[in-house]
Symmetry: C2
Subunit: 768 residues, 2 copies
């Protein structure tokens, strides 16, 4: 059953009413993050009901010992887990001698959560009656500063409503945390040191194996009616991995008592001495104070929204959906640090592990290119460049390739492969294609060619070498084939000649070849440096071309479609619409062999190829392939509906496009896949953005210009978005009658609307 309790609202995610069965889902949906850290919307005070506790720090991971039933050669030794980080938000509270716990109150009313996406804060308020009959009103606000990204702030206010109350606040930091998904029930954190000083507490711990050192800190202030008190804490708990203070205060009925807790992490990735760094950052935060920090935080979010907001009028659920997606993407990754990437669950859960999938290149980069400075996308590309050596090592040591062939990992934290299903890790090799495509896409969008001679070309060569070696010659077909792969549709394993994989393999070789020629002409010094470094010969280049020129592509002349793989038409081709609803989702209802031999498609596969290489195919071809494959697609991947939405829009199937749009944008809010408790689907949220910009807006970059073919779902009155195109910011507003363009920048640009050129002058509005 899809849940449907989130209140429709333009700018906020709002839950009203307390329901213990929704706690874990809401913990995911109300998560906050600032690119450097984040956490699920766990209650600050102790909660004895069902909860999934999770705090996360970007770049800090744990290589958990691999768990498999039967070991296979080439499996990595570890699976990098998104690490549940020490808890700094915790505040145990005692009221008139009773531990306050929402799960044991006799009454909870006016319960309301709000995630204010415009301003970037999370608020929880309610009235509760404890077992001891004390009635309290509570309001808690929490935010993780964008400006000071090592710091979060909690303002926890309690007003006793029916009697005076002795309130004891017991804030703590605790490194004694575990992951829910440990393979071997092991602890991941080794406590090193606990320190306290006045109102400040510090717990330093390091990860086992990876030895990331983290100081988790807190500073607490107690206020009455907004005035700072000077209550001194006693220390109740100074274990090796936890420190907890206790503040006693007497609050008269009707008075507002509050604790303001500053907390966060300083990590050895950024600091030599993490304790000293923590002490300093507390001083900076205290100096600014809660109000100023929040103000600056709101301003930072305003700046983010200024660039990345999409407005939709006339459809509040659609509006809320897209903003939730954009908000989460920005909470997860702000592009400041090229060591980081975009984890599939961001800071909302620990499932899947690893921080980097092909999702980054295939789905996220377009969003970050268009809504941030181009350096952000460049950082994402550089992340892969920095891991090229490990991709070469992976191909060589684990998989038997040679001569500098690079296979990027399916899942990684540091460039090493860390996923261990052979059918994914060893066979889902198309990921290499998206990484090359992203280089092409970056240049196409930004016009910044310098990345290729500087870094990109080496990556392209390693990838081309991989495809060259991975293809094999079929005497039977007299062509090159690629056997034993898993395509983007993970409901097929060990198939031969996946159209998408073969196509992108050929493209990668051709593109690398072209760039070598271009760099040779335009950047001869870089060319020399690189060719010498990678020892690339003319003979090898010649062999590459013979593979790319003779690549085999499965197709059906009769149906006029490309085949997802050899033998696809042998399947029992019952369309999804004729599949009994009780059998879905098939990945939860069917055994794996049945999923595999069925015609059902988890996510765009042939259609992913049509998405990447749109201009290689005619619209008629697209339509035939879309109609065929859409009928078998079950969209059980979060990455699926967006691509179908874009293509449906292109084919003027607007009702379908709109349905897919809602599905992608509200996947988590409406919990389509019945798993939001485990966290949100962050990377596919970039696909939602693409559904509007590339789908409805029809945006493309061709020949260094922006092209549009705007469409609008009948359910909407209008929508608008902005594109940062080569340092000029273009705003596009679409209604049923017209499209308006306006430009923040200093020189005019020409855009194309349905292939017709339109001049847009700075700070003028043009209607098309």
């Amino acid at each position: 059953m899809n849940q449907d309790y989130i209140q429709p609202n333009d700018w906020s995610i709002i839950e009203e009413g307390f329901d213990v069965d929704r706690v874990k889902s809401s913990e995911s949906l109300f998560s906050i993050g600032n690119g450097a850290m984040g956490q699920r919307a766990n209650f600050e005070e102790n909660y004895s009901g069902h909860t999934f506790q999770g705090s996360y720090i970007a770049g800090i991971y744990y290589p958990d010992k691999t768990k498999v039933g039967w070991w296979k050669n080439g499996y990595p030794k570890y699976f990098a887990k998104v690490l549940n980080a020490p808890n700094w938000i915790g505040i145990d509270i005692e009221i008139n001698g009773e531990n306050f716990d929402l799960n044991s109150c006799t009454e909870v009313s006016n319960f309301r959560r709000e995630l204010n996406m415009k301003e970037g804060w999370y608020n929880r308020s309610f009235t509760a009656v404890l077992k001891n009959k004390t009635e309290i009103a509570v309001n808690v606000r929490r935010f993780l500063s964008i400006e000071l990204d090592e710091v979060g702030y909690i303002n926890y206010e309690i007003t006793p409503l029916n009697k005076d109350a002795k309130i004891v606040y017991k804030p703590y930091v605790d490194a004694g945390v575990t992951n829910e998904d440990t393979n071997w029930e092991e602890k991941f954190w080794e406590p090193l040191d606990v320190k306290k000083s006045g109102n400040e507490g510090f717990v330093t711990a390091q990860t086992f194996k990876t030895h990331f050192k983290v100081t988790t800190f807190m500073h607490n202030s107690i206020l009455t009616n907004g005035e700072l008190t000077h209550i001194s804490p006693s220390t109740i708990d100074a274990l090796s991995d936890k420190i907890q203070f206790s503040y006693d205060t007497i609050v008269a009925k009707g008075e507002k008592s509050s604790i303001q807790k500053i907390g966060g992490y300083t990590v050895s990735l950024n600091h030599e001495n993490t304790v000293t760094a923590a002490e300093k950052i507390i001083q900076v935060a205290l100096h600014k104070g809660y109000d100023q920090l929040l103000e600056e935080h709101i301003a930072a979010w305003a700046k983010i929204w200024e660039m990345s907001d999409i407005t939709i009028t006339g459809d509040v659920k659609a509006q809320q959906g897209i903003r939730f997606n954009i908000f989460q993407l920005n909470q997860t990754y702000l592009g400041k640090d090229s060591r980081l990437n975009i984890g599939p669950k961001g800071f909302t859960g620990e499932k899947y592990g690893g921080s980097t999938y092909w999702d980054t290149e295939a789905y996220c980069i377009p969003f970050y290119m268009a809504t941030k400075d181009q350096q952000v996308a460049r950082n994402l590309l550089t992340y892969r460049f920095n891991q090229l050596d490990k991709a070469i090592e992976n191909a060589k040591d684990n998989l038997g390739f040679k001569n500098g062939a690079a296979l990027y990992p399916m899942v990684t934290m540091n460039g090493e492969e860390c996923h261990n299903e052979w059918e994914i890790t060893h066979e889902e090799i198309h990921r290499n294609g998206a990484i090359a495509f992203a280089i092409f896409n970056y240049y196409r969008f930004t016009g910044d060619y310098s990345y290729i001679p500087e870094k990109g070309l080496e990556v392209l060569i390693g990838i081309a070498r991989f495809w060259h070696q991975r293809a094999s010659f079929s005497k039977e077909k007299d062509q090159y084939v690629i056997l034993g792969v898993t395509g983007p549709n993970e409901y097929e394993n060990n198939i031969n000649n996946n159209f998408y994989t073969n196509y992108i393999a050929k493209w990668c070789i051709d593109y690398a070849y072209e760039q070598i020629q271009k760099v040779s002409l335009e950047y001869p010094l870089d060319h020399k440096r690189i060719i010498e470094k990678v020892a690339l010969s003319e003979t090898e280049l010649h062999e590459w071309k013979s593979v790319s020129q003779n690549m085999y592509f499965p197709k059906s002349a009769e149906l006029g479609i490309y085949l997802q793989q050899d033998g696809f038409l042998d399947k029992d081709l019952v369309p999804v619409k004729d599949l009994d609803r009780s059998q879905r989702p098939i990945n939860q209802k069917w055994s794996w062999d049945r999923v595999l031999r069925s015609p059902y498609i988890k996510q765009a596969d042939v259609l992913q190829c049509f998405y990447f290489f749109e201009n290689h195919f005619s619209k008629e071809e697209l339509e035939r392939n879309f109609d065929f494959y859409e009928s078998f697609t079950v969209h059980e991947s979060s990455l699926s509906p967006c691509v179908h939405s874009i293509q449906a829009a292109k084919l003027d199937k607007m009702d379908m496009a709109y349905t897919f749009y809602l599905r992608t944008s509200r996947l988590d809010l409406d919990d389509y896949n019945k798993e939001v408790e485990e966290g949100c689907h962050i990377t596919s949220m970039a696909g939602t953005w693409m559904s509007i910009v590339e789908g409805f807006g029809g945006m493309r970059v061709k020949n260094d210009s922006l092209h549009f073919s705007p469409k609008i779902p009948k359910e909407w009155e209008g929508y608008s978005f902005k594109i940062n195109f080569r340092n000029q910011i273009l705003k596009i507003a679409v209604t049923h009658n017209e499209t308006q363009f306006s430009l923040e920048g200093d020189k005019e640009i020409t855009v194309f609307v349905n292939e017709k050129p339109i001049e847009v002058q700075p700070n003028q509005m043009v209607t098309a």
Copy 2:
């Protein structure tokens, strides 16, 4: 490196010289068993070097919690482990105050192990100098009685050679044992009770979850120069799961001291009160005494050999190989108990788990049919009949089949599937075919049709229903296809239209259909009973036939061969002979994806079909397919060389046949696959028997008669074997010049030699 330390000998396995690096291998090779229990050749006394401790009881298993990296629907909850049983052989020994341990002696000489296969005992002798300079001569003999199959006997003799010695014997039984292959480091045995009485000790324990109750017992006698002493034991250890006695004795230099230990198991599968049963069986054994028990044991083995021996003259290694194989098969399974089956490692190790694979039907049944009473093979068939309900449940609940379709498990202890790799468990469905084929084979060989109306027909119907539902219709091919399988060649996963699978699927349907007609005519009451029970309609039968009549088989007209699967010829077809030796075994050197897309074949696949259905194909077809597939076969399964040996013999490729014969018969003795430390490959040993009888002897059953086409490797002078054919025992002796037949029985039979009929009279020799 293949080891090569076993002395060639017609009747014994002999190791000379003590080498700590060989201990684990020898523990496997010198294992003993009696069908009901067995154990590795672990030393009785404490040994601090590398050892793999293992004792096993037939039918007693543990359902270990499944371990997988990523759970998939339909996976069984447990993997049934061959359980390391309580140790009853242990005797700690102290000599002049020093714990005797071969690993810490200053000198060990004249070390010799002998496994006397003719008489069924295992002997170990050596001279050792302890650190305290006491020199002793030791001789230990152990056997597990065939007659009293709950009892084993150890006679452990020590002669101090250079000084008098105080010898303390500390025999024990210990249920505090663990499996090396636990998934979660859990204990499998729960101790219940420890009891002692005079020289007898009892430890009763039960398995967790399955609650098999086992009393492990011992009785000890101390002798000096063969005369019973009356030393009373003290109890040194009476833990909850172990009991240990201590006997002190002073032995003069040159005198022979010995401990005779009776031990074994009584189990709740056979006894209400296992302790009482243990007490009784000790009395029976004591009453007979060591000498008589050993004598009866030798006589029992003589009877086994009388029927099952194969002699080979002129090639002692070949002779030793086949006897080792026959000996191990008989140690593992004697056919007395239809609850038992033939575990892949017998009583020699714990690897693989489960007791029953398709190996039983495809490889073992022919051996047991021809060398035992036909009831033994009937018991093996009945084992599957008794598990039909669970096979139906497995197909329905785990895999989504309906209407009584049965899929037998890939690995089982009790009828439930307990293996958990989707590519094996869910896709290696051809096992269902071998189970039907065994019914056909049993009737073909024994002429006992009664099994089919009584039990077999229901099994055949369940299996036919499975294939009917599992096949799907390809509009593209206008034929039925079977998609997404793993064939006998496990170096392919999720392939389409595996020739062997499609062929046996069609055969199963046709055979079930025929048997329904036959039973209908000849056993109308059984027919009515069964058809009503399984609710089989004419419509369904009609549908079966349309599947079997329109089954698709992949082939190459150009090469004149059947294709192992769709697309096989797209592979990079480099024959094994051109594969660098350093790359083998490929399953240890290559990542799984590379194995899968290679053309290399682990074991006979298309050729398995030619083996089962020989008379469906011409010899020319066989030769073309053999030549093609043999060139790609790496024989990395123990089940592979035997089938190739039989077919090579048929094709007069005698050198090849001989090479494969040696490989199959001495697989463990010469440790071809570098893994004998983990135990012996029991089930493939039946394939060795087939290599001689069906390969060189060319034995077939056609139209109720035995046919032969004898051939002989040039390395041999002659060979002979016996066949129990329909309660008459025919002996066949082959030399380069002639074949002799003689018959133990009461009526003449006609055999065919190279299609020529020969009359053999009882107790007369006929030469052909």
